[in-house]
Symmetry: C2
């Protein structure tokens, strides 16, 4: 429910791996260059992705910016499922983003989103301060953002908001707290996605290893444990968003300005399954990678109509992660390249009843 | 008072830059491959360095390991000034190092060092734990080491101990505390070095920038401010140790296993001077880069005998850091490559009186 498919040769390479990694429906991030901010871009990008992977369902988003208007949202309502908000400057192609210290300029837009049932997808980090003063850094950037999430939910209690790729125990705690009065069957408004790689990584794993450097950065064991507990809990407000974010290998092998992002899509379900297995919680895997997100986005009919004739099966069979995925145009090093995973996935037709 | 001069082509390239960076006497780290653990290695390495830079004074060290004996220390007493202790696995070529959870096996050695007046130079980090449990990581590795420093000082109150390249406010606080009863003119036993780059960097500056990745990693603004306050204070237990640690550029431009270390030696004094200038503390610069370390190591006579005929002058003249320093054999990217510094240094003969 959160994947970067890029454009150009990278898009061609990566888009088919959504399915091979075990995912039927994916939620596509709009941080292209230039970002996706018009109806035409949405239509064209969707058509391109669909042509590259006809059996995959691509859910489209717009990039929150001053270019968006309530009128545009009405026009796009059937074409998009949500809008992604990037704080300016925190990650790949986020320079067109917004100032998370003051969302008020976007309140008319949020009101329209709430009315149309569009989801607000938040990259939940405050931009780092370069000098003294308030001292926001890559470690506390997410906790410092959380009051903004709380305020947004207070101001728009029926706006669906997803805190994307959350990385801290503080974020997990807040999402739980904001759902404490939700009863079975109630609509869920505030949810969080968790990536595969944040179930594995802490700060030591990306210090000196650019391939594991992403934003938000992986934090500490306490945070990782909290993410694993949330993911494997089955709670309906936590679901998988890979935040798979491929970069050409040459942009990772630099001594300054390493691109932020970890590519996981080609083995997405296998990475997650291994963690669930270790925790003895494989029974909750379908919730995390499937039904929780499906329900949150109201996609039960989409599943039946478009994906009713086959299922993805988790198969216990050793599976070595490729050292590199690519072709003559572009190469990407996947997460845990060369490591052996315990599980793989297979697509199988559903038996007719 | 803490520099890595390496061996091979890197040593040839780097050793002369100690002087061009404004330093007359340097304290040489022993983490070669294999590490310096014999009298012969000390003699040969010293001769090599001296031939590469005849005007520079090189103070030699041994690498703390099980190969060292009290007898060897007696033999080497005139040749070395101290012994460097690396916790196994924390930084470049530290695999031969020791377990900082239990120094007791080295107590006979420390007793001999105390007797001979040799300095124990500590890389003050606990090794990271790979899995759950005690959860030591690159951020808390130094604070978690500090109880070991306190215990060593308790057990050997007259052993001279330097906490090298300290990076946290906790370390600064402890070194101050352990010196709280020291009066002017007293011998100082516990001191700390501070690097140039840790006066500039925080975690955000090395996240995604391997060129700024070193061990211990740079921490947060609170820590940086504490380091700057200590360095500029003039307090005699804080002095400069560059921990300049060059690595060939190709070992920084990798997506896994980036070498830890920042190379600063060729502009060492200029980097530090700029910070002192910003703080309005240039008057304390000679203490930090000179007399504090000279006094701690008892080198006043060395200065007079070997360096009495010239002085290094700080000159306010804009100075652009090289993008790369090298030759056909090896290339190194210096700290703040391409940036403009406010000061440079010049060696000038002392006027005869």
């Amino acid at each position: 429910m959160h994947v970067h498919l890029r454009d150009g040769p990278m898009c061609k390479l990566i888009t088919p791996t959504v399915r091979s990694g075990g995912i039927a429906i994916c939620y596509v991030m709009p941080n292209l260059v230039p970002p996706v901010t018009t109806k035409q871009q949405v239509v064209e990008y969707h058509a391109k992705l669909q042509s590259l992977a006809p059996k995959t369902t691509f859910l489209m988003t717009l990039y929150l910016s001053k270019d968006l208007t309530p009128e545009l949202l009405e026009e796009c309502a059937g074409l998009i499922h949500g809008i992604k908000c990037y704080p300016a400057g925190v990650t790949t192609n986020s320079k067109y983003g917004v100032d998370p210290n003051d969302f008020s300029a976007f309140y008319p837009l949020f009101a329209k989103m709430q009315e149309l049932g569009l989801v607000l997808n938040l990259h939940g980090e405050k931009p780092s301060t370069k000098e003294e003063g308030d001292d926001i850094n890559v470690i506390n950037a997410e906790p410092r953002f959380l009051p903004a999430l709380r305020k947004l939910h207070d101001d728009f209690p029926k706006l669906k908001i997803v805190l994307e790729h959350c990385t801290t125990h503080e974020a997990i705690d807040l999402v739980r707290e904001l759902n404490q009065d939700v009863k079975a069957g109630d609509e869920i408004y505030v949810a969080a996605t968790i990536t595969a790689h944040h179930l594995y990584l802490i700060i030591d794993n990306w210090a000196g290893n650019p391939i594991n450097f992403c934003k938000p950065v992986a934090k500490f064991q306490k945070d990782r444990k909290s993410l694993i507990a949330a993911a494997t809990s089955g709670e309906p407000w936590f679901f998988f968003g890979s935040d798979s974010a491929p970069h050409p290998i040459h942009t990772k092998q630099v001594h300054v300005g390493v691109c932020a992002g970890v590519y996981t899509q080609s083995d997405a379900v296998s990475y997650v399954a291994e963690i669930f297995d270790k925790e003895g919680k494989l029974q909750n895997l379908p919730k995390f990678i499937g039904s929780n997100g499906i329900s949150y986005y109201g996609l039960d009919k989409t599943i039946l109509d478009k994906h009713g004739d086959e299922s993805v099966w988790l198969v216990e069979r050793k599976n070595k992660v490729s050292m590199v995925i690519g072709n003559s145009d572009v190469n990407v090093v996947p997460f845990k390249a060369g490591d052996e995973l315990k599980y793989t996935v297979e697509w199988r037709p559903n038996s007719k009843t």
